[in-house]
């Protein structure tokens, strides 16, 4: 009777297939057709190049604060690749590559970061939530979507993204607990990029892994090499399949690294050593996957250029966006505009129309205009 050890005992698995030295565990390699491998690679390249372009746009004052994904392309693409279009994708604020894969036009993403509410509008047939800024708050939404799908009898899985820092929030806990009790089809993807702005993982939690947090909810949890797109894909596919099969939620920890700034308002030299970044640069998910494709002779010429052209096209469309109509701020507060908003709208319309000393109020900055050194002004 005394000091019994309770069964079951627990452990957490770690999955890696293609390591940073280029070693491949062929027994675990997913059987992906060449087209898929190429598509994966292209999406990762797109994520990387768009990132670079957006940082430049921000520096030029053409968009506002933006959170780059550099280094996390494998975590994002390996996981989202396991979804069907009828499944749901719930992003945080750092899933540009995955969002584009899901069908978000690049110019919408640019609009979003240029302060246009239009950038948050998913297409009518798209099963995607828009970006959520408050850390971790999107996780209960994912659980609710999954519950609703199950309630309606729809065969849809929900994949929700968040960072290592998000695991400290109450909403993370409550969402995983509800998911466990309700046994709903959700796959929780934690991109553990080691940092929450300036706070390293060891100041974020005393648990050794994020994956083991699943044990608190009686859920399966797995840690994967998040810079190995094949490992991420395999873990995600398994979780998605289990979810489709009615076997409930899974927590996947992708061990990765944010190679760039937290956002364009951040200066990481204040809090982390260049050596640490350099060490992770050796594990770059793109380099690794590129070498793998090269070995398989699947590397196409000109991917980078074609991606850059696609981005340039999108930037052109973005810059052609007409100035934001201020009156639109009243449109989506309620389904029907209540009297006080109608009155406020009329006031503003009259104000704009009659041009009486409208001042800056009536002349919202169009994107691209009045470039400013965004960095300092935006966050400092």
């Amino acid at each position: 009777m005394p000091r019994l050890i309770l069964e079951p005992r627990f452990h957490v698995e770690y999955l890696s297939i293609l390591d940073s030295e280029g070693n491949l565990d062929a027994s675990l390699e997913p059987k992906l057709p060449p087209g898929d491998l190429k598509a994966l690679y292209r999406a990762m390249v797109l994520g990387r190049r768009l990132d670079e372009r957006m940082v430049r746009l921000q520096r030029q004052g053409r968009i506002g604060t933006f959170a780059p994904i550099k280094g996390q392309e494998a975590s994002q693409m390996g996981s989202v690749f396991a979804l069907r279009p009828t499944d749901w994708m719930v992003p945080s604020f750092r899933e540009t590559a995955a969002m584009i894969w899901r069908g978000w036009p690049i110019e919408k993403i640019l609009l979003f970061f240029a302060g246009y509410v239009e950038g948050g509008q998913p297409a009518p047939d798209q099963h995607d939530l828009p970006i959520t800024i408050p850390v971790g708050t999107q996780l209960p939404h994912a659980v609710g979507l999954a519950y609703a799908a199950q309630y309606r009898g729809d065969d849809a899985v929900v994949m929700a993204y968040f960072g290592d820092g998000a695991t400290s929030e109450g909403d993370f806990h409550e969402a995983l607990n509800f998911a466990g009790v309700w046994h709903v089809p959700v796959v929780f993807i934690c991109q553990n990029n080691q940092w929450a702005i300036s706070v390293p993982l060891k100041k974020q939690t005393h648990s050794k892994t994020i994956a083991q947090k699943a044990l608190a909810y009686g859920l399966p949890g797995i840690q994967v090499d998040g810079n190995d797109v094949l490992a991420v894909y395999v873990a995600a596919r398994e979780a998605v399949e289990r979810a489709h099969a009615g076997e409930g939620p899974t927590l996947i920890e992708c061990v990765t690294y944010r190679l760039g700034v937290h956002t364009t308002a951040d200066d990481p030299t204040k809090y982390r050593a260049q050596e640490e970044v350099a060490a992770w640069e050796q594990k770059d998910p793109l380099t690794r996957f590129r070498a793998h494709l090269e070995k398989k002779d699947l590397l196409e010429d000109g991917v980078e250029q074609r991606v850059d052209e696609e981005i340039a096209e999108a930037v052109r469309r973005f810059e052609a966006t007409p100035p934001a109509d201020p009156l639109a701020v009243f449109d989506h507060v309620y389904a029907e505009m209540p009297p006080h908003l109608r009155a406020q709208r009329e006031d503003l319309a009259r104000w704009l129309r009659e041009g009486a000393a409208p001042g800056p109020a009536a002349t919202p900055t169009p994107p691209g205009a009045t470039p400013m050194r965004g960095q300092r002004l935006t966050r400092r």
Partner: protein, 321 residues
């Protein structure tokens, strides 16, 4: 009033399979006030969900359900525990329509018992409507009796926008009223003039409506004063037209609520009256409210919450101004 609310839920659930109920103890127990009594037996535990004890996840998952197209009716056990989910309400329920530019919206109702009068502990007696009224994108409704409760809960469930629905604990059992069998709704955003007079306007809602009506009786009987009594029903969006029309006629107003005075709902009502009918105002708008104090304990509750005598006294001062 409990039965009236239960009836509204029952009829809406029968009418629309997308309506479901979610909250702590709402299922087997039928809610700690029995508002959801027997619904789980009728509709099953997938549709009337006994959730774990976590307000933020109740609202957060309901937001997810609403984004999918369901119409969750959430119960927060007491309004004093709703600040646990205030971020989900303000950050998400209220904003998803704007954020997604109409692609998504949150058709959901958040019911909670509010207010004093039942000898209850801390966090079980407060009146927090102001916090919701100030959030764009939300609607804030407080019925004053069984019939308005049933009609407005029906409207709230059908309303495409998120509705915060406060139910006065003092009215749950005290208030009795005949209500029609047939489903009945009442437009959200519309106040009701429940008594007409030309000398003074009393503006109240929820449990305070009774106080206003009785004060009007006293004023009529003892002072021969004729009073317009406005039952707000919807706090936000505020029906300024009805209020201003009344005060435009009477020239004098007293606003009554259980919430603390400073930065409370009475301030908006007073300011709106001033803006809407300044030149007809014969006296400053008076506010009869709870004091600006934290929890007082039920041994002192009656000294804190407006009652008929205080309203009558305020009305007399306003009339004498």
């Amino acid at each position: 009033m409990v039965k009236a609310l239960n009836l509204a839920l029952l009829q809406e659930m029968e009418r629309d399979p997308d309506v479901l109920i979610l909250g702590e103890d709402v299922g087997v127990d039928g809610g700690v006030f029995r508002v959801t009594d027997d619904l789980q037996r009728k509709f099953g535990s997938q549709r009337v969900i006994d959730s774990p004890l976590a307000e933020a996840a109740i609202i957060g998952t309901a937001v997810g359900m609403a984004l999918y197209g369901l119409k969750p009716v959430c119960e927060i056990q007491f309004s004093g525990f709703a600040f646990q989910c205030f971020h989900q309400i303000e950050n998400h329920a209220a904003r998803y329509r704007m954020r997604s530019q109409g692609r998504f919206h949150c058709q959901m109702v958040i019911r909670m018992p509010y207010g004093g009068g039942v000898r209850a502990l801390e966090h079980h007696t407060e009146s927090e409507e102001q916090f919701y009224a100030h959030v764009p994108g939300l609607k804030m409704v407080i019925p004053s009796g069984p019939r308005t409760a049933r009609a407005l809960l029906t409207s709230a469930i059908r309303d495409p926008d998120p509705v915060i629905f406060f139910e006065s604990k003092a009215l749950y059992h005290a208030a009795k009223e005949e209500i029609p069998e047939e489903s009945e709704s009442f437009p959200i955003g519309r106040a009701q003039v429940v008594r007409e007079g030309r000398d003074l306007t009393l503006v109240a809602y929820g449990a305070m409506l009774r106080v206003a009506r009785e004060a009007a009786d006293v004023l009529q009987a003892e002072d021969g004063v004729e009073t317009d009594v406005v039952d707000l029903l919807t706090i936000a969006p505020l029906d300024r037209e009805t209020i201003v029309t009344s005060v435009g006629k009477t020239g004098r107003a007293v606003v009554i609520h259980e919430a603390p005075k400073s930065f409370g709902p009475g301030a908006e009502i007073a300011a709106s009256i001033m803006e809407g009918t300044f030149l007809h105002l014969e006296a400053p708008v008076r506010r009869v409210t709870a004091h600006d104090v934290s929890f007082v304990g039920f041994a002192r509750e009656k000294a804190n919450v407006p009652d008929v005598a205080r309203v009558v006294a305020a009305a007399r001062e306003t009339l004498a101004f």
